[in-house]
């Protein structure tokens, strides 16, 4: 952790502050949310790395999707993601958002979340333990430092494709396109 290096702060304050002030929206979809309370409270204490749960998407920059994504919740996920301010990072938590997991042949969950919103990193496992969140966070730090956590830029560039994927499920969406 290079939080104490003043030289780095002076050189790239944006990168460093994005790294060490991750305010997370925990999207409580499936069983993954049960791993969040221990990770933010006494035992694992995520706040020492600057990670706290944000009360609303406007103030957050980390989006954690914990568990399976049904067709209904996908709508809410897309809206929440679009309300967050750039730069924003997304992490899929558990096997379900990666490839469907144990819901791979279900009729109302989606298989790959990556088709609908860009994901910067995955935490595999069913369920991953709270330590895995911290490993993921350290990986995310590396990605931010190397300018590789660029999901939000990808979303802006390929918005038509993402929107087409989203509309393939719902027919038409209730809200206007975010980007032209």
């Amino acid at each position: 952790m290079d939080r104490n290096q003043i030289g780095k702060w002076l050189r790239s304050p944006q990168k460093m502050s994005n790294k060490y002030s991750l305010h997370a929206v925990y999207f409580c979809t499936g069983c993954g949310i049960i791993e969040i309370p221990p990770s933010i409270t006494t035992r694992w204490d995520a706040e020492r790395f600057g990670i706290i749960p944000a009360p609303n998407p406007r103030q957050a920059n980390l989006f954690l999707i914990t568990g399976y994504v049904s067709l209904k919740t996908l709508k809410a996920i897309i809206r929440t993601y679009e309300q967050m301010l750039e730069p924003k990072y997304t992490v899929g938590f558990g096997s379900c958002p990666i490839n469907g997991g144990m819901y791979w042949d279900s009729y109302n969950t989606i298989k790959k979340l990556d088709k609908y919103i860009p994901i910067d990193g995955w935490i595999a496992g069913c369920m991953p333990r709270p330590e895995a969140i911290f490993v993921a966070v350290t990986h995310l730090w590396t990605l931010i430092e190397k300018d590789m956590a660029t999901g939000y830029i990808k979303y802006r560039k390929n918005y038509k494709q993402y929107r087409a994927n989203q509309e393939k499920i719902y027919g038409s969406l209730d809200w206007p396109p975010l980007y032209k």
Partner: protein, 312 residues
């Protein structure tokens, strides 16, 4: 010279305000048996907010948060910080009372423009709470004014240094207790964290703030912590005075420096007590909080005022 003093007091208040925010998080973490964030974590957050893209909701939205910040900064100029005072010779308590309401009003403008239902609920709660504690505050200030026969905060601080601190004198202890009872409400701490309840109404008035607006709001929050406690220390704990030990060097540079340090230490003590109260209490409902403030602190303050007036 006055401009330099103004800049100095603004810097002191901003730095101390941010320090208070970090201290609150650290102490809360330690009470939870956690390690907690570093003490400069609010500064990291503010840098991050400034670098994020912001969404504006119109001209009034921009204006409201600036009015709120300027209102808080203006109060700082009227407060004597130890021996440092930019405007505190003029105006006095009435001006402070008048400008103190500017910050919630600016926030109300801003969150009203954002048209988020959570923000409307939050700001209506904040204004009702402000109305109830301002009522108590006016009575506390009235009893101090009639005891010291002046409206100047500077003179009140000097008179305390000459005689005895207000909190230690039996005539003024009741207003002091009333101020301590409304202190969590003024700071927005639990049990009065009803306006900015993050779990209940998504941070209330600041729900639509993101990016630089949130940064300004955080800075304003720190300033409000500073103002509330600085006012208490000035009114009841004798400002930068420590039983007249450092009277021999008063007037010099080192005298001002030492009085500032003493002032800040007193502030930190009061702040830590408020954080302890924040850590152990749950959140009240709005009507419970209003009823409490208009019942216990108000009756204590009125009894204090009657005692002061009857004796004088």
């Amino acid at each position: 010279m006055n401009i330099l003093l103004m800049i100095l007091s603004a810097i002191i208040s901003l730095v101390t305000g941010m320090f208070f925010l970090g201290l609150a998080r650290k102490i809360m973490a330690m009470i939870h048996w956690r390690y907690g964030p570093p003490i400069y974590q609010p500064l990291i957050d503010v840098i991050r907010y400034f670098h994020q893209r912001a969404v504006s909701h119109g001209f009034i939205f921009d204006l409201g948060i600036i009015i709120s910040l300027i209102g808080s900064l203006l109060v700082v100029f009227f407060l004597p910080l130890g021996n440092i005072s930019s405007f505190s010779n003029s105006g006095g308590l009435l001006v402070i009372l008048y400008i103190l309401i500017l910050s919630p009003l600016g926030l109300a403008l801003s969150s009203g423009e954002s048209a988020n239902p959570n923000a409307s609920i939050g700001i209506s709660r904040k204004l009702i709470l402000t109305l109830s504690y301002e009522f108590v505050l006016i009575i506390i200030l009235l009893s101090l004014m009639s005891q010291y026969q002046t409206i100047s905060l500077q003179e009140i601080v000097m008179l305390q240094a000459r005689k005895v601190w207000s909190f230690a004198s039996w005539k003024l202890i009741l207003p002091g207790i009333a101020y301590l009872l409304i202190l969590p409400a003024m700071l927005g701490f639990r049990p009065f964290e009803i306006a900015g309840a993050s779990q209940e109404i998504s941070a209330g008035p600041s729900v639509e703030f993101g990016g630089k607006y949130l940064a300004l709001n955080t800075i304003n929050h720190g300033l409000l912590h500073f103002i509330t406690i600085a006012l208490f220390v000035n009114l009841f704990l004798g400002g930068g005075d420590l039983f007249g030990i450092f009277d021999s060097i008063s007037g010099t540079f080192w005298g001002s420096f030492v009085s500032l340090i003493i002032f800040l230490i007193k502030m930190i003590l009061i702040f830590v007590i408020s954080v302890f109260i924040n850590a152990v209490f749950p959140r009240l409902r709005l009507e419970q909080a209003t009823k409490y403030i208009l019942y216990y602190p108000l009756s204590i303050a009125i009894v204090g005022l009657i005692i002061v007036v009857a004796i004088n």
